[in-house]
């Protein structure tokens, strides 16, 4: 194909262009022509098509996401908010923490290992770009039924990809989720979260300011991988032609990224950059247009200077390539020599590809010929905004009428059967086979990791300051009631921070949904966003950023609405955290919170193929009082252990607690059938030394949280009423499932 220049676009206005193949609608193409006052060149068309894709432009979600701004929490803790690569939160002592979660769902279905690996790589670069040292990763994963053949195909690859990349970067993996459900068969969810830490003064932003400053590309060379990944993959539903799209999945090289991290941190430490942006989705198109938009708008780039792995790439392909492990920095001319020196030390390829100008346009040339001449904001920020129609789908009223019909344990034999069944079911079974493939120790600051309620990392060795992160989603509840489901996921993630005694500070999210072109899915999305925004406002937690993943469906069947909520918390002294379980006999066990007949959306109902009913309603005021109680329990040294109740209810919580340190418990429960399996939100089991009884009673009363003594620790069995389950038997049930399926 001959080079299509701006001059040619002006000379040949009527040339037919493949905008539809690039995913642009006719009106979007017309809008580009209107902006430019001519037809776009093929390079410009490539840029607009990737930047205006659903994945990059949030065109379907924007109108809803603005609620996060409208309902923003007034807080001084947020140093950088939504819109940058990742939000930044003040955690005290001069430290700032940045965290973000993103999806890499579609690539992981096509090529599980590389899809998952580059998902980790991408989110880590987002965090690095803020000026932070990445300190941990987490990965919420969702798959089809555990025994489905396709789950066997994708799960081992995805797990190996998450581990292969994260381990090689030297980032501890401190948590996540693994959930199995029919709706994810053919559309697994791979979400990756990264946390980074820096000093306040080290925060970096994506802006190209200062005419004459240099545009520097460093990191891996550009290849043909991931071309059109954004527009082709993330914005289109899978039909039966999956494998044909394999070349659009990026291939990662974690070694290059590890070197890039260390090289970048050294560059940041010497304050050598004015602005910085990583190259992720939409590659150079995104980085150049966003950097230029962040400044005054003017930038000149000589595209032919970009170092290539494949010299046959056309300018359009170079602009769209999603080759991994690349960064773009804006550097003052006086600092470029030192910049190049550091890159040389780390053997990182580095090239000056252009400069910031005092104009308003992003101008890109290829061997001296102008091939792109655009106002960068029109590419990066002024993409189309859709008012997608949305309407409550018919199923909502139908499922609300369904009554849950599941067996509830009465006899001791039934109690034992219930506990063992829940311990062994894939969603609740021990996930060590998966998490043992991740390095949780590297960097030497991991305080908590899976299977704890939250991951916790020490960020200062002298003051013992730390941060905790948890991610949660309950898609079953979101399916029944997406508004409440989002609030409940938020409450659960916050509670998982607080059980250790950390204080929730900020929220990130990864909103995984089906096709936005389906009004029912769009309603689920709108309700979820409304619920999350209302919930965050009520709990006083700022939303620092997030990610939307649409088109998660196979044919006409959408996934369950899956808003994954990440909460970051701070703890002033990690040494004082409340552990998840007890390691000695003679402690009293209490249940905090009331238990109702909440079976709708529960794991027990799911195991009995009951998907209907009415989801619980979130009581966030009570959740906030519970959090206060949990934090006080730590600071006043009342608790010996605390563990959240969620999927699988009290039965699952007790199973996890007794197996953790192999110390049993004797439990007495009224209404045992419901007590074991109900998933009423806002509950925690705590263990205390009997000497702390008065203190606990007082704190619980102060926060108006119901307190019920349920038993004591000790022995080599979990005894519930008359049912005695030896820890050996319980451990066998809990640990056998996953290796049997995937080992």
């Amino acid at each position: 194909m001959a080079l299509d220049t701006v001059a040619q676009a002006q000379a040949n206005p009527e040339t037919t262009q493949p905008f539809a193949e690039l995913g642009l609608k006719p009106d979007e193409y017309a809008r580009i022509k209107e902006i430019l006052g001519r037809r776009p060149t093929s390079s410009e068309l490539a840029m607009y098509s990737v930047m205006w894709s659903e994945h990059c432009s949030y065109k379907s979600s924007k109108v809803h996401l603005k609620q996060f701004g409208e309902k923003a929490v007034k807080t001084d803790a947020l140093l950088v908010g939504i819109g940058e690569n990742a939000g930044v939160v003040d955690v005290g002592q001069g430290y700032a923490v940045t965290f973000k979660i993103e999806s890499h769902n579609h690539p992981s279905f096509i090529e599980p290992y590389q899809g998952a690996a580059t998902g980790v790589g991408g989110i880590v670069r987002d965090i690095l770009t803020m000026g932070a040292r990445p300190i941990a990763v987490m990965d919420p994963l969702r798959f089809g039924p555990a025994d489905a053949p396709d789950t066997r195909r994708v799960l081992p690859g995805i797990v190996a990809g998450v581990g292969g990349y994260g381990n090689c970067l030297g980032l501890p993996n401190i948590g996540g989720e693994v959930v199995f459900d029919q709706s994810y068969l053919g559309n697994p969810l791979v979400n990756a979260l990264c946390v980074g830490v820096m000093k306040h003064s080290d925060i970096k932003l994506a802006k190209a300011a200062g005419a004459g400053n240099l545009v520097v590309l460093y990191g891996a060379k550009t290849g043909g991988d991931g071309i059109g990944g954004v527009s082709v993959l993330a914005s289109e539903t899978f039909e039966s032609k999956g494998p044909a799209k394999r070349p659009a999945v990026q291939v990662g090289d974690p070694f290059v990224e590890k070197v890039l991290i260390e090289c970048s941190l050294e560059i940041f430490a010497e304050d050598l950059v004015v602005g910085i942006q990583d190259l992720g989705g939409a590659g150079l198109s995104c980085a150049t247009s966003e950097l230029a938009s962040g400044g005054s708008g003017g930038m000149k780039v000589q595209l032919d200077k970009v170092p290539l792995r494949d010299p046959s790439l056309s300018p359009e392909e170079i602009l769209m390539s999603e080759s991994q492990e690349r960064m773009c920095a804006i550097v003052e001319p006086s600092k470029i020599a030192r910049f190049l020196e550091i890159c040389e030390k780390w053997d990182v390829t580095v090239t000056v590809i252009g400069e910031v100008t005092d104009g308003k346009h992003l101008e890109i040339t290829w061997n001296g010929e102008l091939i792109v001449d655009v106002p960068p904001r029109t590419v990066a920020h002024d993409g189309p905004v859709y008012q997608r129609p949305f309407a409550q789908p018919a199923y909502i009223d139908q499922v609300a009428k369904e009554t849950i019909n599941v067996p509830l344990a009465k006899s001791d034999a039934e109690i034992k059967e219930t506990v063992l069944k829940l311990a062994a079911t894939p969603n609740l079974a021990d996930k060590s086979w998966i998490t043992d493939q991740y390095d949780r120790y590297v960097q030497g600051n991991t305080i908590q990791s899976q299977p704890d309620d939250s991951g916790m990392i020490r960020i200062d060795e002298n003051t013992h300051l730390g941060v905790a992160v948890a991610t949660d989603a309950n898609a079953n509840w979101s399916y029944l009631n997406p508004y409440e489901g989002a609030k409940l996921a938020l409450a659960e993630a916050a509670r998982n921070i607080a059980t250790a005694g950390a204080i929730p500070l900020a929220v990130t999210n990864c909103l995984n949904f089906g096709s936005p072109e389906d009004p029912g899915v769009m309603w689920q999305f709108a309700e979820s966003v409304r619920g999350l925004a209302d919930g965050c406002l009520e709990m006083g937690l700022p939303v620092t950023g997030g990610n939307v993943s649409f088109y998660n469906q196979t044919g006409a069947v959408a996934i369950l609405p899956t808003p994954v909520i990440g909460v970051l918390g701070v703890i002033d002294d990690v040494r004082t955290r409340t552990p998840m379980s007890f390691d000695c006999a003679g402690l009293d066990l209490y249940l905090l919170g009331d238990t109702h007949e909440d079976l709708a959306g529960s794991e027990w109902a799911y195991m009995h193929n009951q998907r209907g009913g009415i989801a619980p309603t979130a009581d966030l005021q009570r959740e906030m009082r519970l959090i206060e109680l949990l934090v006080a329990g730590r600071t006043k040294k009342i608790f010996s252990a605390a563990h959240d109740l969620s999927q699988g209810g009290l039965s699952a919580t007790l199973t996890e607690m007794v197996l953790r340190h192999n110390v049993g418990a004797t439990i007495t429960l009224e209404n045992v059938g419901i007590a074991l399996v109900s998933e009423t939100p806002g509950r925690v089991v705590v263990a205390i030394d009997p000497a702390q009884t008065a203190a606990l009673t007082q704190e619980a009363a102060a926060q108006k949280i119901t307190l019920t003594k349920i038993g004591t620790t000790g022995g080599d069995s979990l005894v519930i009423n008359g049912a005695k389950i030896s820890l050996t038997e319980l451990r066998k049930a809990h640990t056998e499932t996953i290796p049997k399926l995937f080992g």
């Binding site: 090689c168 030297g170 090289d253 974690p254 070197v259 043992d436 493939q437 590297v442 030497g444």
Partner: protein
Amino acid sequence: MKIGVVTFPGTLDDRDAARAVRHAGGEAVALWHNDADLHGVDAVILPGGFSYGDYLRCGAISRFSPVMEPIIKAAQGGMPLLGICNGFQVLAEAHLIPGALTRNHELHFLCRDQKITIENTNTAWTSSYKQGEEIVIPLKNGEGAYMCDDETLAMLEGEGRIIARYVGENPNGSRNLIAGITNERGNIVGLMPHPEHAIDSLTGPSADGLGFFTSVLKALVK
């Protein structure tokens, strides 16, 4: 006492190893792969990671780094040298210790708290332990299966050069449950699990790993 900790491109546990040296009371000195100067250190640690991405055999490229030349020379002269995980692989590639590390028998990365016994306390790195002492430290690797020919194995066993052995189920397929070995002189130790991740029970499964670092400081005082 100054203990050098080498950073190759792709090294991950260098800061952890340096922290462990400091916890034990030593001074950690950062050594750079491309700098053939040992900066006056008394001992050297080759830490874990994926040097050069380990795309060839693990440790195969690092072994030729400029810093390795003086390290090999000094170690052959008796300087204490500890290779942990990827460092163990580098030692094997450099032929400072016999054998090789190959892919775990279950073919995936494994991270877990591992019980090992210390079987030789006469090396520069193990004298703080009691003979036969059981300790728990993290094991985390993809290529940790120790392999050698029968003759070498018999020699290692016969000369008491197996310094640590896995307890219980073989985690990675190592011959004779070998977790670590030493050279004839006892100054060079290759160890697959990670003592630097077990220097306090806050961030590790135990503080059992500290003994490797206190051992070398004692050895240097002598």
